[in-house]
Symmetry: C2
Subunit: 346 residues, 2 copies
């Protein structure tokens, strides 16, 4: 399907898709995204509020540079994605890691440790990497804080498409009545990483600033790829692709859970999570996750150490295990080898 | 040819071209560019020194952010491209416009007005927008200054591919023996603007910093487009495309010069320039180029006011006239309408 959609444009590309485009992105794609997010994620927006970025990382970089001045304080969930830390510090921000509990980011700790923060970066649907879903009361508390502090919330909804055993929670953006939330999404996880297309949904009064900022920093994302994705969504392929991969990843997740139960039951305590493309498992106290990760790598298994994602001291060691890209036999073989790696590290 | 090369990858994309790629860019493309620049532009580099950017603007943004701290002073040629000013000020630099004479940027004025500059942004092959070629003595003077001041030179070679009546001068980078030059190039002008692919050539000891910076800011450019461009160059299509468009644009330039001679001889004094995709014409003293530009727009002709490109007061009004995208009849018709626009503005 992708080949056919791509060839359609290249055989006779419309001149406007070869020239410089709208710095906010190709309008039909912005319309497709707005319509998808309204239905699937409860996001409240018009197409003009959708700003296409050359990947979620670029969108986050743009948001950090536009919303923060050097020296401004930003909250980041702890544990975190290292790329997010890079984007925030790259914009000159002073970053305060705020712990995550079973309800999500602990806003009271944030207010105590960094009361003057100008921005909070959060992953409410599926905290990265722990997989926690932010509770409704925390969401309301966070929105209230942002309103009172006149601060910004960046909501990264990076893999909200994949939720297996419960109905997806609507986005935080949809609860925001005061224009404090910048919503970030990406096609890297649901289509393929090298496409380098992501998007922001910004409050109406920030649209011009984000489009202008984009044009000074990067211009815009490649137009023909934007047109192909717009058609992919509008013609129903995206919804079918999501249904198909959701079923596939759900099976793979189940295989991983069973393989851990069989091979690593007393060594890896799986963090509850109903969504995403990876699971986190906690190691027994005292076991060094970086050593396990290294031992796993020597056995051909990628199992990132959870401690590398923490700004403050981690409660204990753990591993980040991606499953979406692997078939059942690969997953079972990898868990057998991971069991040997854990054994060798104790 | 492009459709065929693109379809080749989409029919059965190699898995590594769908996953996250090298933050410095797709190696075969970096090799193709290094080989092209060595032969065509006298650039001295290995493939590893080529960093692929999502457009020249993004490359410039990356360079400005990595090489400058907030408050650092940067020289910019005056007149200038507004996007360059945006990238430099966006990185927190204090920008000093330095006048351009018939030999290029006036380094002595720069040294007098801003002796502590950390970076100079220049367009030696074909100054934007005036079209002046920087003389050899100025090039050597600039390199000597950068060496003495431990400053950086950003050489933007944005349309060096198009030179009509003389042999192209080699790049400034090729004269640099002390690793002070960052070379910037783009495919937007020679292929098509919406492709969003550019590149930097950085000194060997900056390669890691630029690749890491790229990965924190943007990840990398889309992989399959990079692979298509790599093949387009390696299979000889790029060289043929350049030969064909060079002949075409040379004809169009000649048509424009003749049409100006016929319709605007006493009203538009064409700035000498042997290269590029546009010409600059000076208006009679006292004529407001913004008014002419507006009158031209009302007659369906895009003729940007030169005064908009100046940081300091322009010597007189002028117009920037792009010709590469237009056939002879369009150019002749546009000059007739431009003559009427000038008439209406006097």
């Amino acid at each position: 399907v992708w080949t056919r959609l791509t060839a359609r444009y290249w055989r006779g590309p419309p001149p406007e898709l070869l020239a410089y485009g709208d710095p906010g992105g190709y309008l039909p794609l912005r319309e497709s995204i707005a319509s998808y997010l309204t239905t699937a994620r409860g996001v409240r927006c018009e197409a003009e509020q959708v700003i296409i970025a050359a990947g979620a990382q670029q969108g986050l970089d743009l948001a950090a540079r536009l919303l923060l001045d050097p020296g401004d304080v930003a909250w980041i969930e702890d544990p975190m994605h290292p790329g997010v830390l890079g984007a925030l510090t790259g914009a000159g921000a002073t970053v305060t890691p705020v712990p995550v509990d079973e309800e999500g980011i602990d806003i009271r700790v944030g207010m105590r440790n960094a009361p003057r923060a100008r921005l909070a970066y959060v992953t409410p649907s599926h905290q990265y990497p722990l997989g926690v879903t932010m509770s409704l009361s925390r969401r309301l508390e966070l929105l209230q804080w942002a309103r009172d502090a006149q601060a910004w919330i960046v909501e990264d909804d990076y893999d909200s498409e994949y939720r297996y055993s419960s109905r997806p929670l609507a986005s935080l953006q949809g609860l925001d009545a005061h224009g404090r939330v910048i919503y970030v999404g990406t096609f890297a996880k649901v289509l393929f990483p090298s496409i380098r297309l992501g998007y922001l949904v910004v409050p109406p009064d920030l649209v011009d600033a984000f489009a202008t900022g984009n044009s000074l920093i990067i211009g815009h994302a490649p137009s023909i790829e934007q047109a192909v994705v717009a058609d992919f969504i509008a013609e129903g392929h995206f919804a079918r692709h999501l249904r198909r991969t959701r079923a596939l990843y759900s099976t793979r997740r189940q295989v991983l859970l069973e393989a851990i139960q069989e091979r690593l039951a007393d060594r890896l305590n799986v963090q509850p999570s109903e969504a995403g493309m990876h699971l986190v498992g906690w190691l027994p106290p005292g076991v060094d996750d970086r050593l396990v990760s290294q031992q796993a790598a020597e056995r051909g298994v990628v199992a990132r150490a959870l401690s590398l994602h923490y700004g403050e001291a981690p409660p204990r060691g753990g591993l980040v295990l991606g499953y979406a890209a692997f078939g059942p036999a690969e997953i079972r073989g990898a868990m057998a080898r991971l069991a040997s790696a854990v054994e060798a590290s104790m």
